[in-house]
């Protein structure tokens, strides 16, 4: 059994090249899918693999594909979400840099499965260099006839366009991404309709995360059941964990779903720096509820984290040791959501700024007794009332930080004293 799929050749610049990838058996899965399988058979393998969306929401990939209406006269689109802006997440960047052909091959297979002949890869503007690496890989693959007209003589056509965003976290939210791709500001859309029914230019559209699609070739190559067997039940396969913060070896680690958080931090990422003690961990990108040090035996999969009130999200693990001031940490996150709220709906537009200002005031030593209750109340008023999930994402850290580390917050508010050990 293979231990790694996408990260096998991380940090090997040769692996970016088509020849290297082909030597490794690359594009065989795509060729097989197109020449030997029906789109439905492809989708069935993906369903069997239990592959869940790795962009954050964890929606089963195969199921999502099945929502494309069978009878729509409009063209269908495949859109790759490579906006990767969730703080603490940098796995998609690694895919672009070290194994772009995995993504491209996954795109061919997914496009074939859903019947799309145009794909857009939406990459955050800051990733210009990485987008260029991907473009170079795409050019090579086009030359080899893997993209364009009549691929492998099957009559299947596919064009891919790499599209650069321009600096907006919200454009990672799929409906905002579509707006952005249409040349508008990134204001999320009301749903329904969902993109599978009416997405880009009003046409049926499937949006998948970069990593999600990059696992598809292996699933087709070795079978859906094989992939499913790599993880825990209902949480198939491997995934890329981004680990950052106070660990000795920050980086991307490819491990089965369900790997205990403790193992990721201590075994793979080398443990905490300078022999310090762990204080808190954000398990799945900044929007996911924080965990205390005593909660890290949790298995890193969608269901186990949900069971303890957190989320796997984008699997961006941010590790904070005892020197961390959690009021400060939360203020940093609040500033982020305030900066990134698109401003369309009232609770998020007004609430994110409000929370950020309260937290800053507390940090400035101007906290008042009611502030914590007020923060929780404002977060509560944002939660579940907004157009998109950014509102919830902004509220969740506030709840989890304040409830789990109440003493630190109270000390700041009431005594103006920071409990972090420096």
């Amino acid at each position: 059994m293979m231990e790694k799929i996408l990260s096998r050749h991380f940090f090997n610049a040769e692996a970016r090249k088509l020849s290297f990838y082909l030597n490794d058996g690359g594009y065989e899965a795509a060729r097989n899918a197109l020449t030997q399988m029906t789109p439905q058979q492809v989708a069935d393998q993906v369903i069997r693999s239990n592959l869940r969306g790795l962009g954050g929401a964890g929606f089963p990939a195969g199921r999502k594909w099945s929502f494309i209406p069978k009878d729509s006269p409009n063209p269908r689109y495949l859109v790759v979400n490579c906006d990767e802006s969730e703080p603490g997440t940098f796995k998609d960047r690694h895919i672009l840099e070290w194994t772009p052909h995995s993504l491209l091959e996954g795109i061919i297979i997914a496009a074939y499965a859903i019947g799309a002949s145009q794909c857009f890869i939406y990459t955050r503007g800051e990733y210009l260099h990485y987008a260029r690496m991907l473009q170079a890989a795409l050019d090579e693959a086009c030359q080899a006839g893997f993209f364009g007209k009549n691929i492998w003589g099957t009559g299947f056509d596919l064009d891919v366009l790499i599209h650069l965003g321009a600096g907006a976290y919200i454009c990672g939210e799929e409906s905002a991404l579509l707006e952005s791709l249409e040349g508008k500001k990134g204001w999320p859309r009301l749903r329904p309709p969902f993109p599978a029914v009416s997405g880009l230019f009003g046409c049926p559209t499937i949006i998948n995360n970069t990593e999600t699609l990059s696992y598809i070739p292996a699933i087709i190559r070795y079978g859906g059941s094989w992939f499913a067997g790599l993880g825990t039940p209902q949480n198939g396969g491997l995934r890329l964990y981004s680990v950052s913060g106070h660990v000795k070896n920050p980086g991307v680690y490819e491990l089965p779903l369900g790997t205990p958080l403790r193992e990721i931090i201590y075994t793979h990422a080398g443990g905490i720096r300078q022999g310090r003690k762990l204080k808190a961990v954000i398990p799945g990108g900044s929007s996911t509820p924080v965990l205390r040090a005593d909660e890290i035996d949790v298995r890193m999969d969608f269901d186990s984290l949900a069971a303890i009130g957190s989320l796997l999200g984008s699997a961006g693990i941010i590790v904070m040791d005892e020197s961390t001031c959690l009021v400060k940490a939360l203020a940093v996150l609040a500033k982020f959501y305030h900066h990134e709220s698109c401003g369309q709906c009232t609770p998020c537009r007004e609430g994110t700024g409000w929370m950020a200002r309260i937290l800053n005031r507390i940090l400035d030593g101007q906290g008042v007794r009611d502030d914590l209750e007020n923060l929780l109340r404002v977060a509560g008023n944002i939660r579940g009332t907004t157009i998109c999930a950014l509102g919830d994402a902004a509220a969740m850290p506030v709840f989890s930080f304040i409830t789990k580390f109440r003493d630190e917050f109270e000390s700041h508010v009431l005594q103006g004293r920071c409990l972090a050990s420096k």
Partner: protein, 158 residues
């Protein structure tokens, strides 16, 4: 000033971009990126000209330009220092790098040096927390910044 002020090179780049998209408006961000690469920022006149090219109201281009952090509506310095101050970078001391840069350049975040060489901004997570504290100068990433490394870098860029 309007379309006439666009260089031939830019105009041909724009028409190539337009050809790639199923709808002209979808080409808006790539076109704005191209304009910004050419002149460092997007002036109001450029907005009007682009609106005309794409066939949309000028206010829509204004909305778009003002929405995205990477699109600048006034010129930045030759080197645009973008310090990440999100959580992973802050945990590892991003603020010290920012402070060092501010001291050395004599500016506050958001400002440009008088000689127009440096603009200093703080930005949100750059997707490079494995390299924290991270910094982007124009399009290039720099890893593991510290006050010391900032000073060295600024010396080199001067």
């Amino acid at each position: 000033m309007s379309l006439q002020s666009f260089s031939d090179r830019l105009l041909s780049e724009i028409s190539e971009i337009l050809a790639r998209y199923p709808q002209p408006r979808a080409a808006l961000l790539p076109i704005l990126h191209a304009c910004q690469r050419e002149s460092g920022y997007i002036s109001r006149d450029t907005e009007t000209a682009v609106a005309e090219l794409v066939g949309i109201p000028a206010i829509d281009v204004r909305e778009t330009v003002s929405f995205y952090s990477l699109l600048l509506d006034k010129p930045a310095g030759k080197y645009h220092l973008q310090f990440c101050t999100n959580l992973s970078c802050t945990l590892l001391g991003a603020e010290e790098s920012v402070a060092a840069a501010c001291r050395k350049l004599g500016v506050h975040p958001g400002e440009t040096t008088r000689d127009n060489r440096f603009t200093l901004t703080t930005v949100e997570c750059l997707g490079a927390c494995d390299l924290s504290p991270s910094l982007q100068v124009n399009d290039d990433y720099y890893a593991n910044m510290s006050a010391e490394k900032v000073n060295e870098l600024l010396d080199k860029l001067k």
